[in-house]
Amino acid sequence: MKIVVTVKLVPDPNAEKRIDTSTKRLVRTGVETVLNPYDEYALEAALQLKEKAGGDTTVTVFAMAPESLKETLRKALAMGADDAVLLSDPALEGSDVWATSYAMSHALKKIGFDLLIVGGLSDDGSTGATPGALAEYLQTPLVTNVRKADAEGNSLKLERETDTGYQTVAAPLPCAITTALTFGEPRYASLKGIMGAKKKTIAPLTVGDLGLDREVGVSGSKTALLAANPPAARGKGQVVEAADGATGAKAIFDFLKERKLV
């Protein structure tokens, strides 16, 4: 089975972020780039499947990102992916989901897969629309929010996490899934993995390799990001003076009740 995992390379979610008001883009200088956290779960799912299936199952990670971020992919290789493919091209800059998933789908077709595992949400763009768009372009079924997967011959048995419990779903291969965070905590990259990762390949792809019949980048996008604003600063909190714990608790309770929060 050939498993491909998409990983977006995003600014460190733990770093303080700033948006450049003139370009409306995130200021990336001084902020480390990391694997999108949801995609680490997707990769964990792929590695678990590989361990279970054994044999000739391989895991390839795929990212569309500037060439300068290439080394960030090493971590995915250190965690256990077999190889990586990086699609980079200045022509892709400013792509919205419409254009991104179009370009990505062509690259994924070129790479080929039995199972495509996509993270549920990126930490920066956060549209959550890429998985659906990819499945559409690739004409594969899509099962979202998967917490457990078993490959059985040419099909998959999947468990979908829902608010009320879980569902068991069967799907044929090739197929695309997104993973739920309950699939399992992403593993650490071991030292052996880190040392071995430098010998693994990160194959480059450019727009020219894809044979697209549509534009990508800003001109190939339908939506335009007009402004990205920080959340409104929170107002000053209200301090309640209370004689003792019970009076204090009552004051807090009344405050919450007034706002219909309890």
């Binding site: 080394e71 071991s190 030292l191 052996k192 880190i194």
Partner: protein, 382 residues
């Protein structure tokens, strides 16, 4: 000059940091209180490859360099000094002697499981009456019918009595040199050697979750081939072992200082006095600046020593300076970190109180500050 870490060094540093912050730090208080050796953490560190970090892959190690090793010890010590010394003593004192001086057979038998972290190993140099003056070794080993028969006592030996401990390599007097001075050799003593026993764990002020014991040898017997390296080379060998160990104990001291600084910085922003966070007071700012300045300085020295070692250069003086300096920096930084915490810093529930206790041994173990100055003065040709 290039101050950039390689991608690999960065990856190892970030793995060690993630592991230390997520798995080790939340446990540090409890382990310290209960004097509980962290078997599960050692197992995880072994799986990740930390317990054999600098040894070649063919011997079960990860094949990383000394810079990576120093960075990893720093990050783990930043979360918990006990866990860091367990790793550092295992690698630098337990496993390294086999790597440097072992025969191929000894490497296969001991180094491989040690590097894989399946077994821990101690290094027994110190005796009740021979610490700084380790050459004044009283433990004796004599060859009788193809076995070394050992008599004596070793004091303060790290990793010597855990359930994972496979044995200890000790220094012992094996004869008299032609100049009349005692001849010292290193002897491999497995845990099950007849006549070899370990005391209970010492009750310690710091490093309480690490395993430190007294070892006693009463007609203890090991086979003749348990000699490590040539007979009579023990003194030279342990000096070489201690030279390399200085980089990791320096990293351990620095990691502790970094951890205390992290705590103090955060606390200074949270704690309000006279209507503002204490980080707004110049007196507190100056303390934090001085702490950071010394941390950065020590880091440069340690990484330079590691870098020299990785290039096969003479690193001994740099490593000794780094060990001494980092130990003294950890003393000052931890002290100020408690000061910044005020009364809360004296309370068990604040990590800085543990760090304050954990710090002192940095100025004593593997060469006291005084002995370090002696060593450096000698290297300076004084």
């Amino acid at each position: 000059m290039n101050f950039d870490l390689t991608d690999e060094q960065k990856a190892i540093q970030s793995l060690a940091r993630d592991f230390a912050q997520n798995e080790v730090k939340p446990r540090a208080e409890e382990m310290d209180r209960d004097e509980a050796f962290p078997y599960d953490l050692v197992k995880k560190m072994a799986e990740l490859g930390f317990m054999g970090l600098p040894f070649p892959e063919e011997y079960g190690g990860a094949g990383a360099d000394t810079v990576s090793y120093a960075l990893a010890v720093m990050e783990i010590a930043r979360a918990d000094a006990s866990t860091a010394i367990t790793m550092a003593a295992h690698v630098s004192l337990g496993a390294t002697p086999f790597y440097l001086f072992g025969t191929e057979e000894q490497k296969q038998k001991y180094l491989v499981p040690l590097a894989q972290g399946k077994m821990l190993w101690g290094f027994g140099l110190t005796e009740p009456n021979a610490g700084s003056d380790a050459g004044n070794c009283q433990t004796k080993a004599t060859l009788q019918n193809g076995s070394w028969v050992i008599n004596g006592t070793k004091a303060f030996i790290t990793n010597s009595g855990t359930d994972l401990s496979g044995g200890t390599t000790i220094t012992a007097v094996t004869g008299t040199r032609s100049d009349g001075r005692p001849e010292i050799s290193n002897i491999i003593v497995p845990q099950d050697a007849p006549g070899f026993s370990r005391s209970k764990k010492y009750k310690k002020m710091g490093w309480r979750a690490s395993d430190t014991r007294e070892l006693s040898f009463v007609d203890a017997k090991v086979p003749k081939e348990n000699l490590l390296g040539p007979q009579g080379e023990g003194y030279k060998q342990f000096l070489t072992i201690l030279d390399g160990g200085r980089i990791s104990v320096a990293a351990l001291s620095l990691g502790l200082a970094m951890g205390a600084y992290d705590e103090a910085l955060q606390y200074s922003r949270d704690r309000v006095a006279f209507g503002k966070p204490i980080s707004k007071f110049q007196a507190i700012q100056f303390k934090l600046v001085d702490m950071l300045m010394q941390i950065e300085h020590a880091k440069l020295m340690i990484l330079k020593a590691a870098w020299e070692k990785d290039r096969g250069r003479d690193y001994v003086q740099t490593a000794s300076l780094a060990k001494l300096y980092a130990a003294e920096v950890s003393h000052r930084v931890v002290n100020e970190a408690v000061q910044i915490h005020g009364g809360y810093g004296f309370m068990d529930e604040y990590p800085v109180s543990r760090m304050y206790r954990d710090q002192k041994i940095n100025e004593i173990g593997e060469g006291t500050n005084e002995v370090q100055r002696l060593v450096i003065a000698r290297l300076m040709g004084l």
